[in-house]
């Protein structure tokens, strides 16, 4: 498997996740400093760097947030070392303040920023198109379409970064990041880590007023030079067939376009752009000149399409441009081959051999009544117990819930349906401050420990300073759970198992001058409800910390120690079918037997948090007897 192959010495072809290929390429390119905050679909970059870290000498931090991660890489690359950070689309929003300035100051050592967009918002709060960041910051952007290209493009990105003294974005999307495929690993020839002497030129990396104006003119010149270079770059590929029909595409769109043409039996000329900022305008102009029709295959916004339109105005004013602006493709959601087949077939009036919409209609009919299965809290998840306790404590109290980004966000899905607002990392606290001005209901904000450290602290400082009246619930499960239980500032280990100093959450909050802190264990349900009820009646701001390790995380530790995870069962002779263990608890391990209508607990799924046993009014749930 890829992650095991990443550190191997010998070159060769392996089946590898694109995110792992990116790490291998960075290691081959002798990256020296790595810093990132997890976020899907980039998380495996951080995980892979962390898991192979003991074998190499790069310095790595699992950072508190994307902004600090980017700044850490910036500092290292200002000094002259190669660095890499990775973040999901919206992670760049957090890092953007430093990001824009960094385009002005530039760097000396190669710096690569991997940014992954998430069309269809599989695991994000929006479908944000990150390509506009490149355009508005004048930071160059390169887009691979598979693991093999990711390898070579990451290496090119480091070289480009050093050649022009600017960080380079590797832009992917979910279907590139989470694509496994074949990649050829090269040789690992790394220099041993050595500190450099800071090259003193006062003001060299200072951007403000006069220096900013100087930097601006220089970066325009830099961008012009890069555009010239990209016009001839091997990162952009033209497959010329002599057809007067062409396709311009990049990244994931290229994959669908190639397969769609093969299904339709069409052989258009294809321009696959690897460099999508600065746009190689001369290259595109030359390509357009030979065509009557061009189809732009790109997900999300019509970014390439608007550029092509402006280039065509001079290069080929009569060319027909098909894409999102004439409704052939949508700006919503990710593509698939069938979507591109439909788009191209519509453009050319080509007969399709397969009617996708008929298949989808039939499937819809066949799936009538099939129950939804949204992601939810794992069996044993402390969030289930915390939210159950919270709802018990707030019984009869009208309240508003501002929630946040993390596993606990899943409470908004069917059938739990709990939570009123969710914007972005850390927003629940600021939003709660606003809601408490606006309504009479009790205001509750819910945030996880990692998200609190990431972007919640300024909001709480603000609330304490202004005396805003709400209760903040911090679900402290020791890890950044949603993305795969990475360490966070509350952990005593960091990347590669390196010891690190754990923050004590109550001390951090106490340090802000907030004294009303209640700590509960959600597994100790009765006491948790009483303590929460009490705290929720007091004037805010106050904090309830619900502390219990992530079930996946603690199960892994238990298994490592050889502990067996037992399960509960329902004593059918005692169960009187009140369904208390199901209502508002919604554990995937508990279902209702079709025959006797009594609750049942799955031996395979149960994690034995034992909270359901504490809820049952008839004490019918107990430890399963082992044969």
């Amino acid at each position: 498997m890829g992650v095991n192959d990443v550190p191997r010495d010998e070159p060769g072809r392996v089946f590898v996740l694109c995110n792992e290929a990116i790490v291998r390429a960075a290691i081959e390119a002798d990256v020296k400093v790595v810093s990132a905050y997890p976020g899907s679909p980039t998380t495996e970059i951080l995980d892979t760097f962390s898991s192979v870290a003991p074998k190499f000498d790069y310095r790595m931090e699992i950072s508190v947030n994307e902004k600090v991660a980017l700044e850490t890489c910036a500092g290292a690359s200002m000094a002259g070392l190669r660095s890499m950070t990775s973040m999901k689309s919206v992670g760049l929003n957090v890092a953007s303040d430093a990001f824009y300035s960094l385009s002005y100051t530039g760097v000396i050592g190669g710096m690569v920023i991997v940014v992954a967009d998430d069309p269809t918002a599989h695991s994000s709060q929006s479908e944000q198109d990150g390509r506009y960041f490149a355009m508005s910051s004048y930071i160059p952007m390169i887009e691979p379409s598979d693991p093999q290209e990711a390898m070579s493009m990451v290496k090119s990105a480091f070289e480009l970064s050093e050649r022009h003294g600017v960080p380079v974005i590797i832009r992917t999307t979910t279907r590139v990041s989470h694509q496994s495929g074949m990649a050829d690993f090269g040789k690992i020839e790394r220099k041993s880590f050595a500190k450099l002497a800071w090259d003193h030129h006062p003001g060299r990396f200072v951007t403000v007023a006069e220096t900013a104006r100087t930097f601006k003119l220089a970066l325009l010149e830099r961008t012009r030079k890069m555009e010239e270079e990209f016009d001839k770059s091997p990162l952009n590929i033209i497959k010329e067939t002599g057809s007067d029909f062409g396709i311009i595409t990049s990244g994931a769109g290229y994959n669908y376009a190639v397969d769609a043409c093969s299904i339709l039996g069409l052989t258009p000329s294809i321009l696959k752009l690897g460099t999508t900022y600065p746009i190689p305008r001369k290259l595109i102009a030359g390509f357009l000149k030979r065509l009557k029709t061009v189809v732009i295959v790109e997900e999300l916004s019509p970014y390439l399409e608007l550029h092509v339109e402006s280039i065509a105005r001079e290069a080929n004013p009569t060319i027909a441009i098909h894409g999102k602006r004439n409704g052939i493709f949508s700006e919503a959601f990710e593509y698939n081959t069938n979507i591109v087949v439909d788009g191209i077939a519509t453009t050319f009036g080509v007969q399709k051999t397969i009617n996708y919409s008929a298949i989808l209609d039939k499937a819809k009919e066949l799936k009538n009544g099939l129950p939804n299965r949204y992601p939810t809290f794992c069996p044993g998840c402390p969030h289930r117990a915390s939210l159950y306790a919270l709802r018990q404590a707030l019984k009869g109290v009208k309240h508003v819930v501002a929630t946040d980004i993390g596993c606990y966000s899943l409470s908004i899905l069917e059938p739990v349906n709990y939570g009123d607002t969710l914007l972005c990392m850390g927003a629940c606290i600021g939003v709660a401050s606003g809601i408490q001005y606006a309504v009479n209901e009790k205001v509750v904000a819910i945030i996880g420990d990692s998200t609190f450290y990431h972007a919640g602290i300024p909001g709480l400082i603000n609330a304490v300073h202004h005396g805003d009246d709400f209760t903040l619930i911090i679900l402290d499960n020791e890890v950044t759970a949603m993305t795969g239980q990475q360490p966070n500032p509350g952990s005593d280990v960091g990347a590669g198992g390196r010891p690190s100093k754990p923050m004590i959450l109550e001390n951090v909050i106490g340090g802000l001058g907030l004294e009303d802190i209640t700590i509960v264990d959600p597994y100790d349900l009765k006491n948790a409800v009483v303590a929460m009820k009490d705290a929720l009646t007091r004037k805010g701001p106050n904090v309830i910390i619900s502390r219990r390790a992530c079930a996946l995380h603690s199960d892994r530790q238990k298994r490592r120690k050889g502990e067996v995870i037992r399960s509960n069962e329902v004593a059918k002779e005692i169960c009187k079918k009140p369904y208390t263990c199901i209502r508002n608890f919604d554990c995937p391990a508990i279902s209702i037997n079709d025959n006797d209508r009594k609750a049942e607990i799955s031996e395979e799924l149960c994690d034995r948090c034992d909270v359901c046993a504490k809820i049952c009014p008839f004490a019918s749930i107990h430890l399963r007897e082992v044969e």
Binding site: T337, K362, L370, P371
Partner: protein, 214 residues
């Protein structure tokens, strides 16, 4: 239909080892010099939710996603999840389906309100899928996995069944090597046994409807 491609749509519930399964097949392809690619789901979707992995084997294929109606095989580690992705199955394609059902919490919540409701059943799934194909194999992978010595080998049981299909282009030898390299060390024996169990079951129950390897 696309030529020279073998597409497997894999479905299941978060935590069932779907990504590991696709990794085992992909690494086996690498060993055998065959090109393969996948479109995987990581992250949020793991939390007991519905998950899928697109797996494509073929020298010229580019898209990691299987187009609608493009899967040669729909392999599901959970019965309801087979029906959930039926649109990806080719007319007449093969369904390899675990008979295990994990009842979704939304369905259970509904049953608290409606006392006469019954759960969606394996038979119901089979009946509906049979409108698209007659090549359906239902496998009690949990029971076979327990026989193999580890109930967590459901994914490899299903791989055993997949491996007997004549059109599946990956040599058995590479698969066995790949299993040994990719599953946890102490579970290698149970997984290789599970692979045999799955094969055996398929030879008995699947090869009457589809062409199998000799």
């Amino acid at each position: 239909m696309e030529k020279g491609v073998f597409s497997i749509y894999m479905a299941g519930v978060g935590g069932q080892g779907l990504v590991l399964l696709s990794n085992v097949i992909g690494s086996a392809c690498a060993k055998a010099g065959i090109r393969a690619l996948t479109g995987e789901q990581h992250g949020l979707s793991q939390r007991s939710g519905s998950i899928n992995v697109h797996m494509r084997i073929g020298q010229n294929i580019r898209s990691p996603l299987i187009p609608i109606g493009g899967a040669d095989v729909l392999l599901s580690l959970e019965a309801l999840e087979a029906l959930r992705y039926v649109e990806y199955l080719q007319q007449g394609g093969v369904v390899l389906m675990n008979s295990r059902i994990q009842h979704p919490i939304a369905e259970t919540a509904l049953h608290v309100k409606d006392k006469s409701a019954t759960y969606f059943s394996v038979d119901e799934v089979r009946n509906r899928l049979s409108q698209v194909t007659d090549k359906i194999a239902i496998i009690d992978a949990l029971a076979l996995g327990r026989d193999a010595g580890n109930p967590m080998t459901e994914n490899i049981i299903m791989l055993g069944a997949l491996s007997v299909i004549e059109a599946f282009p990956v040599p058995e030898k590479s698969i066995r090597e790949s299993i040994a390299e990719n599953v946890p060390k102490k579970a290698v024996d149970a997984n290789l046994k599970a692979f045999e169990q799955g094969k055996g079951h398929a030879y008995e129950h699947l090869c009457n409807v589809i062409k199998c390897r000799k």
